[in-house]
């Protein structure tokens, strides 16, 4: 093959799988704890907010945030690599994805980290 070959793809592939497994586990935990499955309970501020204000849940929610952003945006990036040939456009879209990821991470972090339950 004549075209220039570039290294890469391994870590994107590996972390897509790792974050996928973490998200699967976290989603089960989320549904179990928040929605009280298998016996559904009401999702009320009084029941949820004190738990979200604990350091443990802040760590879990930050992990959720990081994994969800990476998994989702990396998935979009994989589709872009499939369908966008132009290196210029790939670069522009990559920059946009990283920017969107950064903004969403910032918004998530300032919501999760300083959260205090006003109960």
């Amino acid at each position: 093959m004549k075209e220039k070959r570039t290294s890469g793809g391994f870590y994107a592939w590996l972390f897509q799988r790792i974050t996928g497994v973490i998200l699967f586990v976290l989603l089960l935990v989320h549904f179990w704890v928040t929605h009280g499955l298998p016996k559904p309970e009401g999702v009320t501020y009084e029941r949820i907010a004190p738990r979200l204000a604990t350091p443990t849940w802040k760590v879990i929610d930050m992990l959720f945030l990081v994994c969800a952003l990476y998994h989702g945006l990396n998935g979009v990036w994989m589709v872009v690599q499939d369908y966008v040939d132009s290196e210029l456009w790939q670069g522009i879209i990559f920059f946009l994805l990283v920017t969107v990821g950064g903004i969403l991470f910032f918004l998530g972090a300032i919501t999760v980290i300083p959260f205090k339950a006003a109960v």
Partner: protein, 235 residues
Amino acid sequence: MAEYTFRIFRYDPEKDETGRVQEYRFEPEPGWTVLDALNYIKWNLDGSLTYRRACRHGICGSCGMTINGKNRLACETQLKDLGTTVVTIEPLRGFPVIKDLLADMPPFHDKHYPLKPYLLTRTPPPTDKERLQSPEDRKKLDGKYECILCGCCTSSCPTYWADKNFLGPNALLKAARFLFDSRDEGFEERVNVIDDKHGVWRCHTIFNCVEACPKELNPTQAIVDLRKLMLRGRL
């Protein structure tokens, strides 16, 4: 047999701007394959029909084409097994069309060159015997060496349709055939080619290649095996 309708993709680069479908109706003889029907059309109805054929026994891989939406070898596909009397025949998808059912295969074959699809050795061979391989090591190549290069797998791969630089299931199966060969010493050279964003990591595990392979090989499994091999090498 009943009368069959053959709906065949036709394209002549000297006359047509784009492809068209031409219909032929006749009664095939019992036991005919799709290739027999194509031969009948070419020899009796329309000599201008162009397609690739050679061995007629499912060995050469020349007559891979899309038959009723599935990639198959025309010589191995019995008309009665199609379950319909309307047979649509198109050239393999994902490749440029030269004429009628003749797909241009160099984009497919070119993927093999960087992989060096032959035994690579650095150590000198034994002087009194050939390079021996244990039956257990030989068994590791089952399902990897039988490929006949028909192109049905790569042509069915949506990732290849989108990314023409993707090595494709066939070249990756070929890489696995040598990387898992106990006699081969070309590990670094081959891994450098497949460890690429257009290589082994590009596959999205769609399994179309497994469905398409007329030899019932499993390129997806070979790709997974390659990933495991490379993961172990990195970690």
